[in-house]
């Protein structure tokens, strides 16, 4: 609760410090201070040292799952801020405002992880989306950025409309917005509940970019400034997944059997489209956008199976995927040329960046000894334990094998192709943070229980 309030307040602090501190370079330290404060507060709240007893009428529910997840989100944001401090200054003149918007997004993420009524879910999703529309268009003179921003805005508002219609139908059927009340009302599976469920499923699929509602994703991710894409594709996406999982677990858990096949079909389509299209991409940035769709397919397995493995796995997946993708994007940003040829020979010109990128790409593929392996393993084991639709598990493994092709193509370009890849100079802080992130990916790959045991 305090972390939630602090994240919104720090956004305001960022905006005001933008007025008083004219120097762009001062933005990153203020933001990093804020995120470290958030991390400390959320750690104290997790250990119940700090506690704020406000009467919120049960609209938010603070569970260990949510607290661990927000901890992971704050930590990934800290790494993201440190790695991308230089890029924020290059994107435009309003550096302080970009950080402020990100803090507002963090408070929205807090709402969607703790929500207990559909009102909070809706507000959380909107608080995440509206600042992102602005961030996507932050490169004002660039047509691609304009286009990404407009497209994201239209699709986001459209899916919010669908979500609201679903909420209205659920309210009509159950007379409450509280998800426990809706869970009770789903016992009599009336047509109104069914319509509400399907509409919510569609709108959440839009938000997490699951097929067939993924078509906006590659364009938006490709057009936005890379530093924003890195945030959208990782932290925002996993937060939407937590909202998706919590909504369908707590509100529709009883009628799981009725909608499971729908989620299975969406998962299969997402895995297929994401992986197959990623194979044909020539730009590494666009490949990573498609790979984010493919990884979304894997995370959807958690919504499909809805058991303890799924919940532990989703936290692990959130950490593994966010760290690896943030790291990989941080390397991509430093490149002069985003195309695959631009990476030719990076292993010789910039051995350190190439090695780090290799570790992140291996983790995204799911090679053992990296965090991505256990994340995928938990998702698959959850789906197997679930016992239904075993074909989906086999299909997911096949698709994971295909994903190796396009990730390894980048590694191949870096080490086995001739060329002189050009990268911007990097600072020592950047190098150490990148090294730390890579170490973390490996440590999580060896001891995943470090994270999952925090849930209990």
């Amino acid at each position: 609760m305090i972390a939630l309030i602090l994240s919104a307040l720090w956004g305001v602090v960022m905006m005001f410090s933008g007025i008083f501190l004219k120097n762009k370079k001062a933005a990153a330290p203020v933001a990093i201070t804020g995120i470290i404060a958030l991390l400390i507060v959320s750690y104290l709240e997790y250990n119940a040292v700090l506690y704020l007893d406000a009467d919120i009428r049960g609209m938010l529910k603070f569970s260990a799952f949510g607290q661990v997840f927000t901890g992971v989100v704050f930590f990934c944001t800290l790494i993201y801020f440190i790695l991308n401090a230089a890029e924020f200054e290059e994107t435009g003149n309003d550096t302080f405002e970009y950080y402020a918007l990100i803090f507002f997004i963090l408070s929205g993420i807090g709402l969607v992880t703790y929500f207990n009524t559909l009102l909070m879910l809706f507000l959380g999703i909107e608080i995440i989306s509206i600042p992102l529309y602005i961030l996507a268009g932050s490169d004002k003179k660039n047509l691609k950025s304009n286009e990404a921003s407009l497209k994201y805005f239209l699709m986001g508002a459209f899916s919010s409309g669908i979500m609201l219609m679903g909420i209205a139908f659920l309210y009509g059927a159950s007379g409450t917005f509280y998800i426990d009340g809706i869970n009770v009302a789903t016992a009599g599976f009336s047509p109104m509940i069914a319509i509400g469920l399907v509409l919510l499923l569609i709108s959440m699929s839009f938000k997490v970019s699951a097929a067939p509602f993924h078509f906006w994703t590659p364009d938006v991710y490709d057009g936005s400034p890379t530093v924003v894409t890195s945030f959208m594709a990782t932290i925002v996406k996993v937060a939407s997944f937590v909202a998706f999982l919590r909504l369908f677990d707590n509100a529709f858990g009883k009628v799981h059997a009725q909608w499971q096949i729908l989620v299975a079909l969406i998962t299969a389509a997402t895995l297929f489209i994401g992986n197959i299209t990623a194979v044909f991409q020539q730009s590494v940035k666009r490949m990573l956008s498609y790979s984010s769709i493919a990884q979304a397919g894997f995370m959807l397995l958690a919504v499909f199976s809805l058991n303890t493995f799924a919940k532990e796995g989703l936290i692990l997946y959130a950490a593994a995927y966010s760290l690896a993708t943030i790291g990989s994007f941080a390397v991509v940003i430093k490149m002069k040329d985003y195309s695959l040829e631009g990476f030719n020979g990076l292993g010789k010109t910039q051995p350190f960046l190439a090695l780090m990128n290799t570790i992140f790409l291996l983790s995204l593929t799911g090679i053992p000894l990296t965090a991505g392996f256990f994340a995928k393993y938990y998702m698959l084991i959850g789906a197997v334990k679930n016992g239904h639709q075993t074909w989906l598990v086999i299909f997911a493994v096949l698709m994971a094998a295909i994903s190796a092709y396009y990730y390894f193509r980048v590694i191949q370009a870096m080490y086995f192709k001739e060329g002189n890849a050009e990268a911007k100079p990097v600072s020592a802080v950047f190098k150490y943070t990148l090294l730390f992130t890579a170490m973390l990916v490996i440590v999580l790959g060896m001891f995943p229980s470090l994270l999952t045991k925090a849930l209990y």
Partner: protein, 111 residues
């Protein structure tokens, strides 16, 4: 009028909104269609709120059932206003660069 009339009216408005979003090319019109979708939902929420109130007031005349539905409508209005302010700014930004508000512009990224 029964609740079914309201449901029918709202769903009709909502579908007009969806069809508008999917078929129109002018960004402002698409935007208005999205607002139409939001307002269809508002109407439906108010109707359901009244329905739940009437059902509960038979048992307890001093009931507050249904108030949360009307409160939700205010939140939707606030969020829609926030979205309008951001959305119009984005459209103006796009207009400055391209001198058009045609959505077919959106297909340029594919190539």
């Amino acid at each position: 009028m029964t609740i079914n009339h309201y449901i029918f009216l709202s769903v009709a408005l909502f579908c007009i909104g969806i069809i508008g979003v999917l078929t129109r090319r002018n960004v402002i019109i698409i935007f208005m269609c999205i607002e139409l979708m939001f307002n269809a939902v508002n109407l439906l929420l108010v109707a359901f709120s009244k329905m739940h109130y009437l059902a509960a007031s038979v048992i307890d005349p001093a009931t507050t059932a249904g108030t949360d539905g009307q409160l939700f409508v205010f939140f939707i209005m606030v969020v829609a206003a926030a979205e309008v302010s951001v959305g119009l700014a984005i459209i103006v930004m796009m207009y400055r660069n391209t001198h058009s508000i045609d959505a077919s512009f959106l297909n340029r990224l594919k190539h």
